[in-house]
């Protein structure tokens, strides 16, 4: 069973077997516009919850992507190098950014569920 959780900064994390896959939401991509580049973390890097994990760039903006939960980077989505447009076309599937091995799974409980996030976005 996987579950997806969301942050107020529009990151999502999907956890399967102690590993979290992280990306940004469709709402975030709509605000950013066409993504032209994603700067990904180094594999093996430890990132604390809320610390900068990646940078996503459109033509006129660069935004930090913060780790929704803390952990050690186990994989990055190399395909974004050649095709950053995946972030726009499939933000919550093919357009994932990086995976981390969670340090503390309890941090997940501080994040929003999908229903809560949908409601949160409606209020923006």
């Amino acid at each position: 069973m996987s579950e997806t959780r969301f942050t107020e900064q529009h990151e999502w994390v999907r956890v399967e077997g102690g590993e979290g896959t992280i990306g940004i939401t469709r709402y975030a991509t709509e605000q950013l516009g066409d993504v032209v580049y994603v700067e990904l973390p180094a594999i093996g890097k430890t990132i604390a919850k809320g610390a900068e994990g990646a940078v996503v760039e459109s033509v006129k903006a660069a935004s930090e992507v913060y780790a929704p939960v803390g952990g050690t980077v186990t994989a990055v989505n190399e395909a974004l190098g050649a095709d950053p447009a995946k972030v726009n076309s499939s933000p919550e599937e093919d357009g994932w950014f990086f995976k981390i091995k969670l340090t503390n799974a309890a941090e997940l409980s501080q994040l929003m569920s999908e229903d809560k996030y949908v409601e949160y976005v409606k209020g923006l």
Binding site: D34, V36, Y37, E57, S58, V59, K60, P84, A85
Partner: protein, 504 residues
Amino acid sequence: MSLPTISGDRGLDHEEKLIFELGRAGVTGVDLSDVKVSDARLSGLRRRGTIGLPGLSEPEAVRHYVRLSRMNYAIDAGLYPLGSCTMKHNPRLNEKLARLPGFADVHPLAPQSTVQGALALIAELMRWLTTLTGMPAVAMSPKAGAHGELCGILTIRAAIEARGEKRTRVLVPESAHGTNPASATFAGFTVDEVKAPPEGRVDLESLRGKLGPDVAAFMLTNPNTCGLFERDVLEIAAMVHKCGAYFYADGANFNAIAGRVRPGDLGVDAMHINLHKTFSTPHGGGGPGAGPVVLSARLAPFAPLPLLVHDEKGFRLIENRADVPEGAKPFGRMCAFHGQMGMFVRALAYMLSHGRDGIRQASEDAVLSANYVLASLKDVMSAPFEGPCMHEALFDEHFLHGTGVTTLDFAKVMIDEGYHPMTVYFPLVVHGAMLIEPTESESKESLDRFIHVLRTMALEAKAGKKERFEGAPRLAPRRRLDETAASRKPVLRWKAPDLPKAAE
């Protein structure tokens, strides 16, 4: 405009290939009699193979660049209302004088006895800059506004170190030019943004909350980037000084107050002056500029090398730390040599031409023209702040709400109307900002025509005539360009067509 032509050109508008497509190997537009050279002194490093530079004969080169020039908008050709950029007239006398051999054909390391005229010019410009700003000293070497900011912040850093203190934070208002936080970071400080309140001016309480013993400087643009004078500036300076920090002023908007207000009287410790804005050295498609920094007495000793002194033997440049006069502790060097001499000549020619009365009149006319634009448009466009403004009038996208027209569309239609757009989406503190700086160089007729065009555009947008806004411009050498593609797969140089292009 859709009429096709055989050539692809249209009347006076010509398409133009790249030099790499026009030039041919073996062609040259410079006649030089060839010589043979031995390898004896080349240490085995003689170049192998050709470089691949295309050559053009002189007529081909002249035609190529003249055709390219015709694809550019220019202040000489029309009103250029780019807020924050100060696109005023560039007098041609200044170009002529900058080319005098005694300034233009002088080597920076020629014996100082042979360059007294060039040094005298720098000294005279320094006198004008310090007198106009009411500041005792000026560092001349910074090559642009941002370089001047860096110089000012490094001067502050040195002064703090000399006091034996460690201060790590620089405060910058949210509305500041991007160069401010970038320069402070470049100089090794942490940037802390001061929130912009809805009134468009610095909120004293927010500033007070941020000040502390670890604050090195507060950077403020005044008039600010919303086109407003910071009326609490004296109190701001006092607060900043009280906590032991320095007051840095971004002089980008000095052109609104030159000849009327001396930054030294406002408590400023350091301010760069964009000679290419206030003193009209040409922008040249994005440079070169010059950014001398005026300094308060507290900061003056830390000014970078070189220093210029005058003694019984005449003017003398002090280029090395070993030779500095008593009390001087230069923080370092901003660049090789002595600064942007070519810009200095132009700026001084501008100052001498205007005189103190003309400089004051220019500032007043710039402010008057901006207020005229504001007063003439604020009923149909939306101005986020009450006037009077200083040298630029700020509007936001509020008046376009519900029209389907964006600030960008509005700006691009101006191109079809024969104008360069105003600055858009800056300052960031206003939604869909449109910042208009007409400058003192426009006649009333020119301003009236501009106002008429913008009023009509605003009314058309509100009337739902959005077709012409969508996808504008249509009448320019190019229509909207695909910036996304340019960023995703950067092609930064030409490559021969049989080779794959860069990054592909």
